[in-house]
Structures are given as structure tokens and as C-alpha cells.
Assembly symmetry: C2
Homo-oligomer: 163 residues x 2
């Protein structure tokens, strides 16, 4: 079980977009150059964020991406699910129903949900709750506490190519 690498990229890029501010759009190429990432592939991840309404994209010259909402309104879970999709990691195939020969021997009526499935779902829920409890603004503030120059310098570097 390995999470997509794009999740890490997306989180860092969202932070950078937050620092860049909503006035100017930042191109995928510029964001990619910041971390030496493959441009086209990062663009793909940004498109996923756009589909989920986390960032907004504008085409053409002086186009690019910017945050579609305030950092306070974007949770880390939002970003993760935008990249990873909504499906939970554990997918119950209900193998208890595939009992040949002995049929429903177990006396288990299948209206009840699978208890293994329930256990895994609880864990998944705890994971999501933790991620949903932290917004981009929280993360941003934590970083600014240890690196006060980060906002200005990042914004400066991202927009320095602009007129």
C-alpha cells in the first residue's frame, strides 16, 4: 500500500500557491521548476485539484493556477482525496459470500455488514478525521513559525518571471 507520489507534490504546491496569493496565477511549469519536478506530470496533478475545485485554472498567456478558496477552507484531506480518489484503501470483496458447497453454513445473514470490513472502515475513518482536522492555513502557519521568510521569498521567486 503506497500512496501516490503526487500527493506530496500537490500539498507543497498548494502551500506555494497560498503564499503566491490569489491575485496572480502561477504556471505549472514554474511550480515544477521550484522542486525540479516533471512539468507535464505535475500539470496532471494540478488538473485533478482543479476538478475538485481546490485550485482554479486560467488558460492563455498570464494564465496558470491559483487557489480557488481560502486556505482556511481547504483541508489536507481535500487535497489527498483529490489526488487519490474517494475510494477507501481497503476494499471489501465480501469473500464470506463466496462459500461454495457449504453455502450459508455459517448462519451469518448477509444483511449484516462484514465485520472485518467494519474494522478496516473505522481505521480509515480515523485516518480521514485526522487529515480533515488540519487545514492548509494550519499547515501554512506551522511552517511560517519555523521559517518566517518563507512566504515573501516563495512568492517572490514564483512571480519574478512576471512583468
Amino acid at each position: 500500500m503506497r500512496m501516490n507520489e503526487g500527493v506530496e507534490w500537490a500539498l507543497h504546491c498548494c502551500l506555494n500557491l497560498a503564499w503566491a496569493g490569489p491575485e496572480e496565477a502561477v504556471t505549472a511549469a514554474r511550480l515544477a521548476a521550484f522542486y525540479e519536478l516533471p512539468t507535464a506530470y505535475l500539470n496532471k496533478q494540478l488538473q485533478a485539484l482543479a476538478r475538485e475545485g481546490i485550485v482554479s485554472s486560467t488558460p492563455g498567456p498570464r494564465g496558470g493556477f491559483r487557489l480557488a478558496r481560502l486556505p482556511e477552507e481547504i483541508t489536507v484531506l481535500d487535497v489527498v482525496t483529490a489526488i487519490e480518489g474517494r475510494d477507501p484503501a481497503f476494499q471489501c470483496t465480501d469473500i464470506r459470500k463466496r462459500t461454495p458447497g457449504h453455502g450459508r453454513m455459517l448462519g451469518d445473514d448477509f444483511r449484516q455488514p462484514c465485520l472485518v470490513h467494519q474494522t478496516m472502515s473505522r481505521a480509515d475513518l480515523a485516518w480521514r478525521r485526522e487529515l480533515a482536522g488540519q487545514t492548509l492555513a494550519d499547515l501554512k502557519a506551522s511552517i511560517e513559525a519555523v521559517a518566517p521568510q518563507a512566504p515573501d521569498r516563495t512568492r517572490g521567486w514564483l512571480l519574478e518571471a512576471r512583468a
Copy 2:
């Protein structure tokens, strides 16, 4: 991010082994037949459980697998990590260190751990804590509460081929 299918198999098989009892070993073929699973591949998963000391294997005639410990001493997390491995889902590649040109512009000293990484780790920890909080005995008891015949009938079916 999709979890290995083998996790579901392993959990159900561990439950079945718990019902079979530690006296008689159950072969991989018999366990696979119970749910119509591919025998050889299930065997692979059982080997992973054996390596982690969750089940013990005995070769030869009348051989097979049995639980190596009491169900109270086996957590759901043990089974999951045996199949999935110990690595957390999110692997931080520390892309903040790959900032060409602008160097360590951010003023972030890299002795501090990456805060994105920390957030994801907290979520992973919450997930693990939830899974570690439930033992095979708990799960077994929950199922027996809704399906009282399950223990006897499962044990009977698994061992009926024996002398």
C-alpha cells in the same frame, strides 16, 4: 492507494484458523477452497504471516497452518503489517530540499522534519492505533455474537477431510 487484496484473505483465514483450534493444522488448499481463492497465491500470504510469527507452518502429511499465538495476542494491525509491510503509506521524498537556484532560500533549516510529512505521519499513526486496538479475539467475539454457529461449523468443515 489501494491495499493488497491479500489483507482481506489473511484476516478471514486467521479467524478460520482460530475457530479450527491449535490442535489440528489446516492446509492452504483447504483454506483456499473455503472461499474459492487461488491456492498458490493464498499460500504466499500465509507464508508472510508465518514469517511474522502469526501462524506456524508444518510441512508434510497432516501438515498445514495454525495460529502461533492466542487470538488475544494477535492484533489486526499485526496481520495487516505482515502482508503490507512496515513502510507507511506516505513516503516523504523531502522535495523541499530539491530547490535549485534559490537554494535554501526559505530559511528552513533542514534539521527540522518536514511539516507535511509530520501531518501525514500523524494520520498514519491514528490509523495504526485503531487497528492495533482490536485483537483477533475481539473480532472473533463480534462475529460469534451475530453468528453463534460459525465456530463449530467452520471448524467442522475445515477439518472434515481429516481422518
